[in-house]
Symmetry: C2
Subunit: 418 residues, 2 copies
Amino acid sequence: MTILFKNAKILTFSDDKIINGELLVKDNLIAYIGPKCTIKADKIIDCEGNLLMPGFKNAHAHTAMIFARSASDDLPLHDWLYDCIFPMEEKFIEGDIYHLTKVGILEYLSGGITSAFDMYFNPPEIVKACEEMGFREVILATSLKEPVSLVKERYINWNKKGSLISYNLGIHAEYTTPLERMKDISKLANELHAPVFLHIGETKDEVQGCVDRYGVTPLKLLDSLGMFNYGGGGFHCNYLSDEEITIAKKRNFNIVTCPASNLKLASGIAPIYKYQKAGLNIAIGTDGAASNNSLDMFKEMYLVSTLQKLTNNDASIMDGYDVLKMAVVGSAKAMGLDNCDTLSEGKYADIIMIDLSNPAMQPLNNIKKNIVYAGSKDIVKMTMINGKILYFDHKFLIDEDINQIYKKAQEITDRLKG
Amino acid sequence: MTILFKNAKILTFSDDKIINGELLVKDNLIAYIGPKCTIKADKIIDCEGNLLMPGFKNAHAHTAMIFARSASDDLPLHDWLYDCIFPMEEKFIEGDIYHLTKVGILEYLSGGITSAFDMYFNPPEIVKACEEMGFREVILATSLKEPVSLVKERYINWNKKGSLISYNLGIHAEYTTPLERMKDISKLANELHAPVFLHIGETKDEVQGCVDRYGVTPLKLLDSLGMFNYGGGGFHCNYLSDEEITIAKKRNFNIVTCPASNLKLASGIAPIYKYQKAGLNIAIGTDGAASNNSLDMFKEMYLVSTLQKLTNNDASIMDGYDVLKMAVVGSAKAMGLDNCDTLSEGKYADIIMIDLSNPAMQPLNNIKKNIVYAGSKDIVKMTMINGKILYFDHKFLIDEDINQIYKKAQEITDRLKG
């Protein structure tokens, strides 16, 4: 199966140019990018001058947590987590994660997100939902109920070439993980030459708790266990010390920032400009809908840029296009997705089309920056993953009845709340 | 002409309930809201359980400034204004404002904004664009080129009952207006019993400049001229002193906050929670696309709530629904639009439909808060102004060719940049 996109503007992220031309998808791969494709395609799509670019990569998610969206707004973090979220999660039964994950995937598709780095319970159910819907997913397993032997087994079995699914090592966070488990995961990381990911530096209290327990800050503690000898990354990173920034640089430790969630829970603003200057790779995530409440990369990108301008009192820093690159290439790098980070011949066809005829994109001045500064989910015209168009013109092109997906999620949500 | 909306959820803002029922529009007015309408309508729209609510009111705008969208990103405020915006504005010729305003109106329609409080040059051209497109507009004239006699004449002639257009008195800002003009506008306000609006407290430097010039802060200075004896309002209000807050309360002075613009230009965060506690009316505006870059009330609402949570270190404050009310009723109050602030029989039919089947709105937990926390322009299914549906299912229902509007705006923009 071949699909030819004609009359397109193309931003490949291989370089910083926007070219006018054509893009050919053959099966699940990009087969041609250039001025004029000579191959006769099975299907031709006239882009009418709209922009093709790689899909956004959501570098931190708890996709199935859509059940708690707006079930727990306007609460202090502690009450939100302990009085609302944890009691609901205790009521999960088999199949819940599978059904809930599907709603999150629909939201990703509608916002041009083509893959997620997903940390949540019951990975096999997440895998099933993603495979059925054709969504590219990087699983991060952190449950203490999963023995390290199982984690190892999955790491080996779930990282097959050509699959929509990949798998990484992780812990939930220092403050929720026994030292022995942290040591075991570190050992496994060194055995597998694998990076390790975790929540870190989300709140001041969390950092202080680690200092009280171990006498050192979290990243320093974990690095001393050898956890990041093969890289890794931290979700949130609102509070990393200068010493920890040095460790992060040394270990190729990826920063995954989630500004919308951090604002809503009053956790803080990550010093992204400082990390950028230190030469760290920066990725962007939405966190879960329980705290955010949306899974919307446009909201995150706007915040990543403008919050730094504000806190550094300098409107000229955090260039919009740099932030756009973080949401695509930076996130892909953190997630190990170098097979779909740019639009290039031979890479997976994870492509979105940006509607430049949306009024928020008019007139055309600086398209790349304006996606960050004026974009919203409303400008996403198409989402293609692995060569399949799953969303076009605000409609989902999937085999399932959307209303049945919603109905099931509502039933589960009502049970969890009850 | 009658249009009946059936099978709707309805949030009227007359109270805080969401009811299931029907809404009848007769010509440009709401004729019925209740469980079941017995009148036979000319047209029936099945809402399929989606939510009807009043449109958003954009309480601060420079609509025609879409020409500068992404033409001047990532610059310090001074360079942005003096090296980029002002030189472009000097090149305006007749008709430019008219054509540019239309693009902004399209953006409003796509985001559920049914009226704007618009401060810009050449009001007759703005009026022409709004009337042609059926958009409800509150004009604020502040150009020093317009003599006070003309301002008075327009105030009297442009505030006719039943018109889409209304008119208010204003000055651009203290720092750009000679003292004599401020005195003249104050005198006129007292003669007409009219409120006065202006930019105020946007930056620290602006406040300090006023103190250097006059020995007092801006709101205190202007109040001493009698400018706000019949009310008024300030755009931005990032830096009002406690003394000025007391004056604002006494004068029913409306706070119009524009957080996205303030972040992008690194101007500051308005202490909205403090103003709320002081009992001031709070309205929300987008500012112009030159600084924001979008005209998107969803972005603003999210920021109004979450920035206060962060700066006050308390995730429980600035309830999402309170912020939703600011964007509708609070803004309408500031703009003098008590004829379309709520959905009520006899009021203008300025109505939007929120698509609850958008994945970001699923499952249904707290709809009112979730519009603020997870909403985006993507959830706007319909925008009706004055009884006319101007936007439905992501399509504009206007008599003009959208591409011609864009083409004209691009030509103008290219000339202004050249």
